[in-house]
Symmetry: D2
Subunit: 365 residues, 4 copies
Amino acid sequence: MAKIPVGILGATGMVGQNYIALLDNHPWFEVNYVAASPRSAGKKYKDAVAGGRQLVKTWRPSVGELVIEDANDTGRAVTAANAGQLAFVFSALEMGKDEIRSLEDSYAAAGIPVISNASAHRWTEDVPVLIAEVNPHHTDIIPLQKKARGWEHGFIAVKPNCSIQSYTTPLWALMQKGYEIRRLIVSTMQAVSGAGYPGVPSIDMIDNIVPYIGGEEEKSEREPLKIFGAIENGVIKNAELPRISAHCSRVPVTDGHTACVSLEFGVKKPSLEEIKRIWSEFRSIPQELELPTAPKQPIIIREEPDRPQPRKDRDADKAMAVSVGRIRACNVFDLRFTGLSHNTVRGAAGGGILNAELLKVKGYL
Amino acid sequence: MAKIPVGILGATGMVGQNYIALLDNHPWFEVNYVAASPRSAGKKYKDAVAGGRQLVKTWRPSVGELVIEDANDTGRAVTAANAGQLAFVFSALEMGKDEIRSLEDSYAAAGIPVISNASAHRWTEDVPVLIAEVNPHHTDIIPLQKKARGWEHGFIAVKPNCSIQSYTTPLWALMQKGYEIRRLIVSTMQAVSGAGYPGVPSIDMIDNIVPYIGGEEEKSEREPLKIFGAIENGVIKNAELPRISAHCSRVPVTDGHTACVSLEFGVKKPSLEEIKRIWSEFRSIPQELELPTAPKQPIIIREEPDRPQPRKDRDADKAMAVSVGRIRACNVFDLRFTGLSHNTVRGAAGGGILNAELLKVKGYL
Amino acid sequence: MAKIPVGILGATGMVGQNYIALLDNHPWFEVNYVAASPRSAGKKYKDAVAGGRQLVKTWRPSVGELVIEDANDTGRAVTAANAGQLAFVFSALEMGKDEIRSLEDSYAAAGIPVISNASAHRWTEDVPVLIAEVNPHHTDIIPLQKKARGWEHGFIAVKPNCSIQSYTTPLWALMQKGYEIRRLIVSTMQAVSGAGYPGVPSIDMIDNIVPYIGGEEEKSEREPLKIFGAIENGVIKNAELPRISAHCSRVPVTDGHTACVSLEFGVKKPSLEEIKRIWSEFRSIPQELELPTAPKQPIIIREEPDRPQPRKDRDADKAMAVSVGRIRACNVFDLRFTGLSHNTVRGAAGGGILNAELLKVKGYL
Amino acid sequence: MAKIPVGILGATGMVGQNYIALLDNHPWFEVNYVAASPRSAGKKYKDAVAGGRQLVKTWRPSVGELVIEDANDTGRAVTAANAGQLAFVFSALEMGKDEIRSLEDSYAAAGIPVISNASAHRWTEDVPVLIAEVNPHHTDIIPLQKKARGWEHGFIAVKPNCSIQSYTTPLWALMQKGYEIRRLIVSTMQAVSGAGYPGVPSIDMIDNIVPYIGGEEEKSEREPLKIFGAIENGVIKNAELPRISAHCSRVPVTDGHTACVSLEFGVKKPSLEEIKRIWSEFRSIPQELELPTAPKQPIIIREEPDRPQPRKDRDADKAMAVSVGRIRACNVFDLRFTGLSHNTVRGAAGGGILNAELLKVKGYL
């Protein structure tokens, strides 16, 4: 079976390079189109990223030979699409929010679906913010989105910020079993790869932590509410709970965001044993569909007293599983735990690819 | 004026070495007696710590020439005391809790006051756990303690765990102004020096954090309640509030514990401006008495969005001030902020020395 | 085909755990016997290493169920061998040198070949120190060793120190083409995993390097001479050249030793182009035999100006290849370059396994 | 006595900020004039560096109130000089080399002496590259420089690269005692602060080292030869020896460059004892003149087997002393040792200030 040809917008950036590394040998998709800023356009991909020293992983030589297109030139993408060389794009654009929003719109309007990593469209009411295990049903908004915009084939689906990935799925697993979560205070210790390249200067990360990441706390407090929301009247209406307060810090870790969570249940409160059972048994649509990038077990419980830890647990199940540990009663709320997920795989390119796999199986791609 | 001769129990350990470094050139106290395990006894201090590579700071050559005594030999200490060579001891003992408790008792019983860094006596009801700016009035328990034990001259006073130093003083400053604090959820990012030497293996601290420190969360949740407590019937009765939930993590930082705090006030809630005013104006007994080791301003507010940071703020005011920043409303409770203090100075030897200065001025030493 | 049952002596230590992780799914060998100190004996392997938090990798559940034997009990090993459950052992013993030497001797004398990671026997004249690509012909000493000791089936073969692995193969590749290397000054920057667990305290590795590793420079200067030596009169006679001077430093890196090398050729001096050609074309016996653990290309040249780097290059070709870069003329000698190899894979367990594969194919196992 | 008013060109950069921190409370000099790029001109200094988060140290509030001048506007500097508000400038300019060279020339031509940190003029034949303890006699070139250029009052003096500071003084101390040094191979492990701000991305410095620093090896091999050179015919003629080969690596250390040195003496070879004696007794002009910033003992010998280390030794004697250790015979050349100096103090702003003190005493300022 021929693979589906896909494109990467922002292919030379850190997230773009991650997409290319993770799509290497993907069973369904094949990178066939790489686009970036006009500055890189016309170069071979391998030459454009030669100075880009950030990535450890390498990729098939054939990708290196692809000539980079100008990401602003949607006409060129349409030509490729018409020639059967481009079915959809992953957007890893790094520009101003307004520019990204408008450029992603152009691709969708031109008939090319956009699976985006960018935050630009996360608050567009009819654009789903997908975590494939949590709100796969939000894909139902896509026909409404297309209709509202008059787009025939194109659409936009995005993924949430990397900072919330380590606890949103565990929360959802409990909510799904009927346990309301009212309030949540979370403190994250986030890896430097989340800041892209060059990102955080090393002089700020040696013998130091930085208890602040611009915009991160606001995203962490709002995005879960959209993900937990419901489709009503053609838009996604945010959930009202849980109320979230986030403290986001940067720590000297390459990959893997850790979150220390205290939460309050509603009237119905599960026991710790019940929580562990729910989490270890949790499976969702991606597991049922056996999507290629889906972790077998989305939530892995570490029983050791001092886990999860970024270096030891971030790569669990192709770096797509969330690891949780330190499950214990909270002295103020009901439950405390520590969650961990790989921010550039589960929290970025890997999550985007899983979303694309879900959309493919659901017939949107 | 001749200086007061003091001793260090556990002088060769990491905290003991810190005491010796910080007491170098102290205007009132002079290290004149060093005691450690029988293994070190009989050696010159400089020889005993030659292999002890942990400390950056050095000290007066004369201290290096002191011959180490056996810390278990209280008789030897009494002889020194009788000869006017030892007025009191700082305890930085590193043994089992029960052994420390009993050894500290022996010194006190023998007439030698003990200012301790160890956790052994923190839950002894008539032993004060002192933060000099917060509960200097708890020294009033000392006569009762002496009487209850039949100790004439000796007594025991301790300091709390290093993990709580960055927020206990700010909490107290608010409480003192009539603002009840009901609940508090705190997540700490603690330096490796808090684990002593050798402490945390480097393989666990490179590209990693460890979201667990044995026993630390329990101490963090309980000790502030004793510090905020009141003397009743010859013992210190714990305060009931605030209810505290702590998440304690180890991060790759040499010195300086950071705490991300969310807290809920009682009915009366100060504005952010009021909070900042209270904190920047806060002064207490050590400042009034101009104790040599007291910071001029116990709570320093950092207005930059990304401060305090361990490497940049831990040394503020001789490493004795607490730095706070990121003062903002909490999305779940009332107030969020980040506190930072130097764990081996403010949180260990420096705090002990300040306690001794307070006790000296109050006439207990 | 049934797999060959192998044992690990010192199975609970860091190197022992690495052996078990790397032998998982090995096509020829299967771990069937685990031995450690009497303290661990009798426990299930998974329980004995539960507190051993050092390893990121996991292994087949069946290994966890193995009951640990007392490594000192060679009789038990003989019983296992007689029952066809143990063909040979990998020694990752962590004890005093004399104890290791004598224990390894006991196993060999009892008929159980020992492939050792320990340094104890590296200077035993008839014990080969093998780097499979460099001196596979040194296996010829084994029949002589067995004869001299009166051992019928057992023998001992060891591997060299991890510090020299990143440049010994490149040197050999040049020597083999007829280029004498006279003198060499090398400065290494070595990963903390080389010190085992707990190894280097984190307080010494945050914002710091330690320009000293006990015994490492002596090993680095002597071991290559035995590896480059020749069998004469039943012993391995050391080569006289190159004369080596080593500076060994510890740096805050988890895995991967880096070496900066300056070397002087003899009269015949290759051009930089010739050197690059020799290195990239170098293949040896393990490649010809297609041994399962052998890297396809033993020496990988990085052309980027700032490579090799530990985090980016240590895992090259299953972490078994040596990466070299910065190949340039030396301002004092003839050639400068930087070499890098994975110290716990190529430099420890992986190198030992490759040696066993070589010995198997040669008929010694 | 009124202090001498000095200016800082490039005052907002990392080195510029260091100058301001180190000149705080300087007994002779007072920062009175700060200049930077047109972008910063017109702002108060404290506002211009508010976002500049790199510096730990703070400075007198009065410096923060200074209004930044445009560094390109030499006319403004002349006005200040004429008004007695500016005696000379420290140049910490960060621009292209040609621009720096021409701008420094303009200041000197306008009558304002320039003590520079920049590399632009290091190879100008009549500009001295000063290490105050090594070649204070090179100040004799200044009258010749002024005459050749027709400058009446202004002149230019520079300092060398930070990478060579940890071994140039030890070499000189030996050379001065009549021991020729013929050849030297050095491998440095350099701190990230040497790269300025933002400098090296943290993703490249966590669990990693980078065995390359652009241009650093060339500087390391050439600059000592000018420093060891002699004034002949109005220019500084380079020394011919030692021949140097440098390997320069970046390591995750905030401050403090470490160098592992192997060197070959000429015919006359000192014993290790003689070397230690020469180094510990070495004093030079800055010590004789008791210049305020001069270390009391320029070369400190550490006898511990594992020192010097950056975190423990960089701050020795106000961070102005060089620490050396691991003094031992070299297996290839004659002598091996490890040197360490603080790159942003001794190797940058502190070294520049010491040069200015020397020039002041010699009557050039």
